[in-house]
């Protein structure tokens, strides 16, 4: 069955395409570098984004009083359709 299917012949071509030119090639180095950049940028982004959120919320809580926000809340009233 395998004789009728040129798996071996196709293999290297497919591998080269998938690997952007193969191992240790310029293309692979390039995507690796871009991936590393995204990895570092996302970590910095997590820190910066959260810092902004926390600072904003802290400022609001100090302005409005913490106890206001620690009181029990009522459930959100669902919007029920009225029958006509």
């Amino acid at each position: 069955m395998f004789d009728a299917f040129p798996y071996d012949a196709w293999g290297p071509e497919v591998a080269d395409f998938w690997a952007w030119g193969g191992a240790n090639s310029t293309g692979t180095y390039l995507v690796t570098a871009l991936g590393l950049l995204l990895m570092v940028a996302s970590l910095v982004g997590f820190v910066r984004q959260e810092t902004g959120r926390l600072n904003d919320q802290q400022a609001r809580l100090l302005r409005e009083g913490i106890l206001t926000h620690m009181r029990p809340s009522a459930p959100t009233t669902p919007t029920t359709p009225t029958s006509e």
């Binding site: 591998a15 990895m39 959260e50 809580l61 913490i66 620690m70």
Partner: protein, 491 residues
């Protein structure tokens, strides 16, 4: 004529045998590939479990921020482990930064295969193993992060946790794995260090790293009264916590299986991570009876506390993991029972004496029992030949591993969290902690159809009390905000 015919037949037969051998090799590789793929699938349950476990243990106001830590562990540790963690494992078996791949004891060529630009790290039709082997280790890395995650809930910044988990999951634990959890690691080849299913290298190290972080992070507001006695926060859903633990246990079978190596054309049977013979049945027996012993020990040591009974199961298994390929099931039953007792005692000691607020007992269950398990191998499996050099396991070798791992685990956790603390990036602002992290992070309550009741807290005497005045009092007594908390709409 006869000779010629015979030669022709022989050539045809040799050709057929070669084709069969090639096919057998391919089938063997694909079988191994399939096996590891499914261990990875099963190990995902560990992370689903940790998420449920910790979210259930969190108060309602922190449920999503707690769950999100577990989800983003995957987002962060996967690339960091791919880009440098795997290389650490492949190339630092002989220590750091020594060239491990140059050592005669190290696996030949393995280092070069672990770089992100190598042929083994990308699509490669000739390599059925490297990808799934990497994935199994990646799932172990997530596990180290998840172990730490639960201890820090309800007051650590999500981003601080992510930075710390990248360090733990992609450098700290994998460096100790290179040293003591690989066939070519210096602890293995020279000292016979034996930690077959990662009691120390995964659980112990993650627990100790967590301890370093907890020291800098501090307890949740209101955790301790002015006398230093511990209060107990009530998780919003203990059923979810227990379900999470059951999912973790299920995932552990995948974890255990992934710690073995199988490829029939290379090895005559199953081998452990050190390439010493064992069987899948042996470790499956130990893990199952380990749960039984652990649940039993946890139940009796905690006087029937549900949380510690299930955590005892985890602790019991961790205590027998290091020798799971060697222990008789009866021995595993006894040792796991003792491991759960150790975990319960250690948990109370850490909470009440050290006054460290470990929200889920991770340091006790994973850290203490992880190293306890490593020690047990020195006592009960001394003399067992470990690794490609057949060095006998011994108490000395186990202690050598522990002495290497303690600073390796604790110091990075302590100093990295200290640096984040100095930069004011470790902990959420106290006002945000009081209100709940979900409002700051996501601007919503995640149970919108349910009325909230006043938060409750369990006093050191066991009384259930209204938490709000206690938390506000703790906030006012501390050096937090310049404006007293009582000054607000209700004062």
């Amino acid at each position: 004529m006869t000779v010629s015919l015979f030669s022709s037949l022989l050539a045809d037969t040799a050709s057929d045998i070669k084709a069969l051998q090639d096919q057998l090799k391919l089938d063997s590789q694909i079988l191994a590939e399939t096996f590891y793929f499914w261990t990875v699938v099963v190990m995902w349950l560990i992370h689903a479990g940790f998420m449920a476990y910790e979210a259930g243990a969190a108060r309602r106001k922190n449920v999503m921020s707690t769950a999100m830590k577990n989800i983003l562990t995957i987002a962060v540790v996967t690339p960091t482990f791919y880009y440098f963690g795997w290389y650490v494992y492949g190339c630092m078996e002989e220590g750091w930064p020594k060239n491990g791949h140059m050592s005669p004891d190290a696996l030949p060529g393995f280092c070069g295969l672990t770089a992100p630009w190598s042929a083994a790290s990308g699509p490669n039709l000739q390599d059925h193993i490297s990808g799934v082997f990497f994935l199994a280790f990646l799932l172990f890395s997530w596990t180290t992060g998840s172990i730490m995650s639960g201890a820090l809930i309800e007051r650590i910044r999500l981003s601080a946790y992510l930075v710390l988990t990248a360090l733990l999951g992609s450098f700290v634990w994998i460096l100790d794995a290179a040293w003591g959890w690989s066939a070519g690691g210096w602890l293995t080849t020279r000292f016979g260090f034996h930690d077959a299913i990662a009691s120390g290298v995964v659980h112990g190290v993650a627990g100790l790293f967590t301890l370093g972080v907890l020291i800098n992070l501090g307890p949740r507001i209101g955790k301790y009264d002015f006398k230093g006695r511990a209060r107990t926060f009530r998780g919003h859903n203990q059923h979810l916590t227990l379900l999470g633990l059951m999912l973790i246990f299920t995932g552990f079978y995948g974890f255990y299986a992934a710690c073995l190596v199988i490829q029939s054309t290379v090895f005559p049977g199953w081998v452990n991570i050190y390439l010493s013979p064992t069987t899948l049945g042996a470790i499956a027996m130990v893990i199952t009876i380990g749960f039984a012993g652990g649940f039993t020990g946890g139940w009796f040591a905690s006087k029937g506390d549900p949380f510690w009974t299930l955590s005892g199961g985890l602790a019991g298994v961790i205590a027998v993991s290091a020798g799971a390929d060697v222990y008789h099931p009866s021995l595993a039953y006894l040792l796991s029972f003792s491991g759960a007792i150790v975990a319960v005692w250690a948990g109370k000691f850490i909470e009440q004496r050290l006054r460290l607020d470990d929200a889920v007992g991770a340091v006790a269950v994973h850290g203490v029992c992880g190293f306890y398990g490593v020690l047990l191998v020195g006592i009960f499996a001394g003399g067992y030949p470990t690794g490609i050099n057949n060095i006998e396991s011994s108490m000395g070798g186990q202690l050598m591993g522990i002495m290497a791992f303690i600073p390796l685990a604790f110091l990075p956790g302590y100093f990295a969290s200290l640096a984040l603390k100095k930069l004011n990036l470790l902990r959420v602002p106290p006002e945000v902690e009081l209100e709940g992290l979900d409002m700051a992070e996501f601007h919503q309550d995640f149970f919108p159809e349910f009325a909230s009741v006043r938060e409750r807290i369990v006093s050191p005497d066991g009384e259930i009390e209204d938490a709000v005045p206690i938390l506000i009092d703790a906030y006012d007594r501390s050096s937090y905000g310049k404006t007293p908390a009582g000054v607000g709409a209700e004062s």
